[in-house]
């Protein structure tokens, strides 16, 4: 894939929406690789005992998924900063969609600001944030 140039980007540009797999199997693979042992991520019943509606997707995984969406949109770009706010639990075995949109541009350092969200099936925002991304060119 070719790199995305700063000059090819405009304020208000949407990143391509990205569906993501947050099935229990995938979460177990992630938490295993990350050495995370909390059952609230991998066991619905254990999560409910903690007062959660079900097992939840780890925050660092959500952030990683959003970073992947940015790199899919702009291969070769550099994420200078990514900042996420977890407004509500993103549930394991749900069917979320990741979205991004360019909301600021800084020509001097060739960076753009991107609004980031992960919404669930009801179009409710579960994770939101922003990223500063340096583009080629």
């Amino acid at each position: 894939m070719s790199a995305r140039s700063f000059d090819d980007v405009s304020f208000g540009d949407d990143l391509e929406e990205m569906k993501t797999d947050v099935s229990l199997d995938r979460i177990k693979r992630f938490t295993g690789a990350a050495g995370m042992t909390f059952e609230r991520f991998t066991n619905h019943e254990a999560a409910r005992k903690e007062g959660l509606p079900g097992a939840i997707v780890p925050g660092i995984m959500s952030q990683g998924i959003l970073a992947a969406m940015i790199h899919r949109w702009a291969p070769g770009s550099t994420i200078v900063k990514i900042d996420t706010v977890f407004r509500a639990p993103l549930l394991v075995d749900s069917d979320p969609v990741c979205r991004g949109v360019v909301t600021d541009m800084n020509k001097a350092d060739r960076t753009v600001e991107v609004d980031l969200t992960i919404v669930n099936e009801a179009n409710e925002t579960r994770v939101l944030g922003t990223a500063t991304v340096r583009l080629e060119g």
Binding site: F11, G12, V85, A88, T103, D104, D115, T117, L128, T130
Partner: protein, 208 residues
């Protein structure tokens, strides 16, 4: 006139949006919004001058605050020096009754926001402790609401005869203009806004 009554900029601890970018977004997306109110958490931003942005984008940019009470979060419109002396905006446990009473005394108006939200909304507190005198307007459409929270707010308004406003509760640029309030008149400044909210001639709208 359509105004988004609940938004946060980078002046709020969890706000990530620059005010200039809110203006650009409204223009770029062609949103039917004539203005918006900045309601920063636990503070009133009396210093920032947004008149150049208003002129550049043809928008009205007003200022309020979002304070925290024993019945949840509350928007305050028409903040002035008297009100800033009446209670400590930084407190996390302001008595709602005090905020309502002092706002009215100082010519402002207090509007409980996202009432349907757990802990920080007033519905659950009403169930547990009863209603508070003096509430006239609540936020019935909040852009950040989830899972029936706005429906609970509307039910509360109907039960107690409150008027309802709409506000996006935007913390990022692209969330402004999701919930708004339509007024039957022009809102030129914060005093106009207080007068209009006091008169009760407005309508909450959700564009989500």
């Amino acid at each position: 006139m359509i105004v988004d009554l609940h938004n946060h900029s980078i002046k709020s601890d969890d706000g990530r949006a620059k005010v200039e970018n809110y203006c650009q977004w409204i223009s770029k997306r062609g949103l039917e919004v004539d203005g918006f109110v900045l309601t920063e958490h636990r503070q009133f931003d009396g210093d920032s001058d947004y008149r150049p942005l208003e002129d550049a984008h043809g928008l009205r940019i007003l200022k309020g605050a979002e304070v925290e009470t024993d019945y949840g979060h509350v928007l305050v419109f028409g903040v002035n020096e008297d009100l800033l002396q009446a209670f400590d905006f930084t407190r996390l446990d302001l008595p709602l009754e005090l905020v309502i009473r002092e706002s009215e005394r100082c010519g402002a108006i207090a509007v409980p926001c996202h009432p349907g939200r757990a802990t920080v909304g007033m519905c659950a507190h009403y169930e547990a402790r009863g209603a508070v005198d003096g509430v006239r307007v609540i936020e019935t459409y909040n852009g950040g609401s989830r899972g029936g929270e706005n429906e609970d707010a509307i039910a509360l308004a109907e039960r107690y005869g409150y008027s309802g406003i709409g506000g996006s509760d935007a913390h990022i640029v692209s969330h402004i203009g999701r919930c708004v309030t339509r007024f039957d008149r022009e809102i030129r400044d914060e005093q106009d806004l207080v007068d209009a909210l006091t008169d009760g001639k407005f309508e909450a709208i959700s564009w989500i």
